[in-house]
């Protein structure tokens, strides 16, 4: 039907390096975002392996200097959050959103390119601390007064590099979010009403609002920290009239909404994949949209749940709001599951990773809800329980979502399929490794192992579980090998994908793989949230009510 019949468009992508470096095409920018984020994922992962190697046994064996240990986990988290997961999701958004709304490009292509290139620059600045006498070492949260270094002037320039890098990344995110919003509001194809937008687009929309409203606030916190550190300011150091908890309020005012920035687009990807592979529409489309918006809105009123033990926040309010946020998330969870119910599931790799997301994010969400109960959080805060929570949502949720999305859209991006067998091997290794690494951390946390310690007493009873976690960590790393090999061979000799290898629902499957510049020659008519499905089966096919 209206499918484009272009020459094997792969040729478009063989263009020279210069072309890539100067491009403003949202697809190339999106792909570069993804590649860049993967590079940082491996860097962050290697740092994590450093952490795990040290913690494998009691005693200081690997990172024998505690100060180095602090740098390593600080960089691990900073890289993973700010240079892997957030940009990765922005990259998928970049690639997919214009395609899914039938737009030729993003609204501001040059600003888009700028947002991309700020990221590797920030990464270099951040990590250069390792060569310049030390990186930041106060955790990814960098609470003052510790991060002010007034007393133990031990981090050298690292903390300032960290601040600089984060401001850069934040600016990149803000510009990116404005770009997304204008694109989504102004560049939709005819017929693409708001409530016909794919869920992926909705999640990017809500994410962008969160980024636009929250990121500037952390920029202000970072600037205040910088002024304190370098210009003799008095914001956060109590010994000079400042307020240490103020920073935490401002930081979490950003960083809680930011955790939804780190997961909503992944939820959007899942919401494209589950319907495709169960051959049904997403169950409860509108409820899903409202739940997403609800999470976004509630996300701004829960920040102090990271500060329950400070003794300086109004506990009941933040506890209630934190509990409530489980409700819209639950709505989504059930909508996903009922998308599967009565469907016809094909277990391709994207679906496996999507199911991994469902089952693992569930654990991460529920163990997060434990902490909403303030007294329970008194026991769990700053222990490995929280480390378990954060990896179940960020790795079990977001990162599984990222791999699901990668296997799903790789054919669109490159014109070739990834290998299914290698994909399944990766999934199984990663799934087992992930649980082996992070499940024991619940137990460690309950037993009282604090986070951010380089070593623990051999008599504390934490040896076996730590060893298990370390083995698991290396298993996750091992699961990356079939993945890398898969990408490598599939790029050269993978199966040719064709326009629509999965029988997708949304507009990106109506154009060639990879799509031509400006994406579409012709668009199918858009009468529902599944234009390509309608085109294939006729509008209202399959017993549509």
């Amino acid at each position: 039907m209206a499918t484009t019949t272009l020459h094997p468009a792969a040729a478009t992508y063989k263009s020279g390096l210069y072309e890539w470096l100067t491009t403003t095409d949202h697809k190339k920018i999106g792909i570069m975002y993804v590649v860049n984020s993967f590079i940082f994922f491996f860097i962050g992962g290697l740092l994590a392996l450093g952490v795990r190697a040290e913690l494998a046994q009691p005693g200081l064996q690997f990172l024998t200097d505690e100060h180095l240990y602090n740098q390593v986990f600080t960089m691990h988290a900073t890289v993973m959050i700010f240079l892997f997961i957030i940009p990765m999701l922005a990259g998928f958004g970049n690639y997919i959103v214009p395609l899914q709304i039938g737009a030729p490009d993003m609204a501001f292509p040059r600003i888009n390119a700028m947002s991309l290139w700020m990221l590797p620059l920030a990464g270099v600045i951040l990590l250069s601390g390792f060569l310049l006498g030390g990186t930041a070492a106060a955790g990814w949260t960098s609470y003052p007064p510790l991060s002010e270094d007034r007393i133990l002037a031990s981090t050298g320039p690292g903390q300032d590099l960290w601040i600089t890098a984060l401001i850069l990344i934040g600016t990149s995110s803000i510009l990116g979010s404005i770009n997304f919003l204008v694109t989504i509001f102004k560049m939709r194809a005819p017929g693409m009403t708001l409530f016909r937008m794919p869920i992926m687009v909705w999640t990017v929309l809500v994410t962008s609002v969160l980024v636009m409203m929250a990121t500037p606030v952390i920029t202000s916190a970072l600037i205040m920290l910088f002024i304190d550190r370098n210009l003799g300011g008095h914001f956060f150091d109590p010994s000079t009239g400042g307020n240490a908890v103020l920073y935490q309020n401002v930081f979490w005012f950003y960083s809680h909404p930011a955790v939804y920035v780190m997961v909503l687009p992944a939820m959007g990807m899942i919401s494209e994949i589950l319907p495709t592979f169960s051959r049904k529409p997403l169950f409860g489309y509108k409820a899903f949209v409202f739940a997403t918006a609800g999470i976004g809105a509630l996300g701004f009123s829960v920040w102090a749940h990271h500060m329950f033990t400070t003794g300086a926040v109004f506990l009941p309010f933040f506890s209630l709001m934190t509990f409530l946020i489980a409700v819209p998330t639950g709505v989504k969870m059930f909508n996903w599951i009922f998308t599967l119910v009565r469907g016809q599931l094909t277990f391709s790799t994207p679906l496996l990773f999507a199911l991994g997301f469902l089952s693992m994010f569930l654990i991460g969400g529920i163990n997060g809800a434990f902490s909403a109960s303030v007294p329970v959080d008194y026991a769990l805060h700053d222990t490995y329980w929280v480390v378990a929570h954060l990896h179940y949502v960020l790795f079990g949720g977001s990162a599984f979502g990222v791999f699901a999305g990668l296997y799903y859209w790789f054919p669109k991006m490159t014109g070739r399929m990834l290998d299914e067998t290698l994909g399944k091997i990766q999934f199984v290794l990663m799934f087992i490794g992930f649980n082996l690494t992070f499940f024991p951390m619940h137990v460690l946390g309950l037993q009282g192992m604090p986070r951010r310690i380089a070593d623990y007493a051999s008599g504390a009873g934490w040896n076996d579980l730590n060893l298990a976690a370390t083995v698991g960590g290396f298993l996750i790393a091992a699961s990356m090998l079939p993945f890398l090999w898969n990408v490598f061979v599939s790029l050269r000799s993978g199966k040719i994908a064709g326009d629509d290898p999965w029988e997708g629902n949304t507009l990106e499957w109506a154009t060639s793989s990879p799509p031509p510049p400006y994406n579409f020659d012709r668009l199918p008519e858009i009468r529902s949230e599944r234009p390509v499905f309608d085109q294939r089966h006729g509008h209202g096919a399959g017993g549509h009510k």
Binding site: A244, P281, A287, F323, L345, F347, I363, N367, A379, A541
Partner: protein, 372 residues
Amino acid sequence: MSSSPRPRSASDLILIAILVVTMGALIIGALATGFMDGMFPPEAVTRQGREIRSLYDIVFWIAAVIFVFVEVLIVYSVLRYRRKPGQDELPVQTHGHNVLEVIWTVVPTVIVAYLFVISLQTLNSIDAVAKSPDIHIRAVAQQFRWQFDYLAEDGVTTLFTEDVATSDQGGGMHVPVGANVQLQLTSPDVIHAFYVPKFLFKRDVVPGITNRFDFTIDPAEAGQTFRGQCAELCGTGHRVMLLDVVAMTPADYEAWKAAKIEQAGATPAPSASAGPVAVTLEETAAGIKFTTKSLEVTADQAFAIDFKNEDPASVPHDVDIRAADGSVLADQPTIDGGTATTYTYAALPAGTYTFICSVHPFPDMTGTLTVK
């Protein structure tokens, strides 16, 4: 939508096999390793901790039911609704179901509302601070050690100070069981957190703010020692900020306290056996580091160390001596940054010892003392 029996493809079987094996392995592993015990915090030893534990148990079981319910729903849907060979017709295109949507909005709302209410009740009970508790203690947390000031009834005047925080060095926060102890938390430098796992409780020590909380140790726990440690990243020595809480019978406690007060009143006599000093060594601390990492003295002769602390005023140091097995042979008082002192030490038999700053007991502030 009906489910007629159908041939299974090989890959489906493999998948089921993997699932079954994994699940089986998980369950067996769980049982074999006392998994369920692991999912609960330790038995609490304070009244407040026990309340938290009861709350935890409720939260846990509700969470466990939700978890199992949802996870089973996922696994069931996955196994049940696989696409079978020859299924070319589209499945029924259900777009939603209003009743279901309402159910799974309302039920979780009710659950979390319940959890919120019981959490709030527990919170009010455990966060209550008494106007006139039985015992006032001020815990001072600083990079990287704890110090406990025992206060008079006014909650201000210091009666005596316990500046050794762990029991293997003969210190620890000693408290009587059954008494309502109120802890005030202060920090002169960065944020720390007072955490004792068996209290199921922690509270941040924030510079500029004095946090307080009450606890009462159960009478049955007399004679026990509970390990604790700083739970908020506070720098290089974060993990060595250990502390112990020593629970005593009221009688033992009174005796301990009387001895402490007496000790504090007496002029701090330098170790009686120090004897005439044969040799004076020098040591300087700067940037939380000893500048000299190895010292040498003659066996069986008392000696002294001229010690200069060149760090900022708020950073105290000392030079203690420990035997190879970690036991403390000389425990010196700390001096503030920017000051100097001369520590004298009793004679030691030949051997290799460690000299160490008890405030910062990590590699940069540890050295070797060779006695020949």
